[in-house]
Symmetry: C2
Subunit: 304 residues, 2 copies
């Protein structure tokens, strides 16, 4: 999987950072991508990436603020104009359906693909072909969600050492074992897949938080996540201001990642005021948690 | 006056051309600007210009297609966020009010300035401090307007030669005459302002057309215009295609400008297919009318 940061700013767009949008691109199995939030000009940012609107299968909206949703009507229309015919599912807070319906209707936009719009509730678990997505309630000035995505459990690795000892060198039979089928070796020995495979590995967790101050929800998102994408809008000296407007400081996000044993924290939703002193945010966060990236528009993170 | 071309593309945004937006900037009297159409990411284009959202006094929407309106909610919100407190008036076709109301409401956007939204009808004449704007019906796939702006009549020039002959060399009294006040020279001669001034000059006309095929309305817009801004979406070999989708070719726009005795034609709303062969459009148009510019994003035209 790759995570593409398309918009990493807060509030109004600046030359450096656009309104929020993050894409999760799936590289194994069927190709495709998901989008989390869609600030104005997200489709413009895609022009500078390897992603195109028709690739997207689903969009998840964290909350209804303009810098997270105003790019939706244009994205949906262009996906059709650019030849997208496969279904698209949109998940978001109550109100998203009305906004989309009126926008497309007002502009006379006809979509050449089926669009499903689902207004979700906190605690809901969305099951998809790619894994499950838990809708987690956060704490912002308006209803705000985080999405905790868990891959399906991955099959356990082949116990190579054990198999070689059993007289089964690496070869086509390994694949059969991985498919959970017992095999018989040339000398008639039966090898059971249950003995040949390590236990299933849990799927990786990618959590994408909407705007929030530190909350129970952000801690839920962090828990054992492979990657936690969390806002770090302000530095510590504006901590009160951050809290008042339902935001987190970079340090607060780092504490959440650390306490939740997340493996990697990516800070986003950066206030324009830090453009020339971005290091402050990284430094304050790094004192609490070591594995941190500060996202920028165009940043692509490869999930290990 | 200056005309700033912020978005000169058609349909989906490309790296070169954004959705439609044109600003008219007033340089004399009170500073300010008007916006004609507001495609997605118009506020982003403003970041590369000398214009800022708070400067705008009025917005005129030609028609409801997404590439002309999807930038409105973000523009309106940012105008407030960036400190705009002066009133803004929005003119557009029926449906614009609902689109704006729902978009701002859905996103919880509060504006720190009074916003007036007027749904206009063809033939309507909008009177403003800056002059009159006539709403002209065009011929597109949906209701589409052009806006014909006429400056107030300008005061006639001072007849310098006549005044010098009368014994009045250039000086402070000239200003008094320009203000339509009679003056008395040092030797007691009375000079009447009516004799000292040439007749009032008619105000200049700037016409901005929305999407349209050649029509009675586009001809009305062209009539004696100082500047006609008109779409030239396609070249002649796609003339039928253009007509079918309610668009004009560059040549058709040139004929309209020529027949209407417009002084200058600026072609805009250029299909992305011409990015590498833009000369085709200019050449086909130039065979009919000599005073032509092909607009590009960032082009600033100074009205003479």
């Amino acid at each position: 999987m790759e995570i593409h940061f398309l918009g990493t700013g807060a509030g109004v767009p600046s030359k450096q950072r656009n309104g929020s949008a993050t894409a999760l691109r799936f590289l194994s199995g069927q190709k495709g991508a998901w989008l989390f939030d869609c600030g104005e000009a997200t489709q413009h940012r895609l022009l500078d990436s390897t992603l195109r609107p028709p690739m997207f299968e689903a969009i998840f909206i964290t909350h209804m603020h303009g810098d997270h949703i105003y790019g939706l009507p244009g994205f949906l229309g262009s996906r059709s104009f650019m030849g997208g015919t496969t279904p698209l599912t949109l998940y978001g807070p109550p109100g998203i359906k009305r906004f989309i319906t009126i926008s497309l209707e007002a502009s006379g936009t006809y979509l050449n693909y089926p669009l499903f719009v689902n207004e979700v509730r906190a605690g809901e678990k969305i099951e998809t072909d790619r894994g499950a997505v838990e809708v987690v309630k956060l704490d912002h000035t308006v209803l705000s969600f985080g999405y905790r995505f868990t891959e399906p459990a991955r099959r356990g690795r082949v116990r190579k050492e054990y198999l070689v000892k059993k007289g089964l060198p690496p070869g086509p039979l390994y694949k059969q074992l991985q498919e959970k089928k017992d095999v018989v070796t040339e000398d008639g020995t039966v090898v059971r897949w249950k003995d040949a495979l390590e236990p299933d590995r849990p799927g990786r967790v990618i959590s994408i938080a909407g705007d929030t101050k530190p909350s129970k929800g952000s801690r839920t998102l962090a828990e054992n996540a492979e990657v936690l994408i969390h806002e770090g809008t302000f530095s510590e000296n504006l901590k009160d201001h951050a809290g008042q407007f339902g935001h987190s400081t970079a340090k607060e996000a780092a504490i959440i990642a650390r306490d939740g044993k997340a493996k990697h924290l990516i800070l986003t939703h950066i206030s324009p005021r830090y453009e020339k002193e971005l290091e402050i945010l990284r430094e304050e966060a790094a004192r609490e948690f070591s594995n941190i990236s500060v996202a920028y528009d165009g940043f692509v993170y490869k999930v290990k």
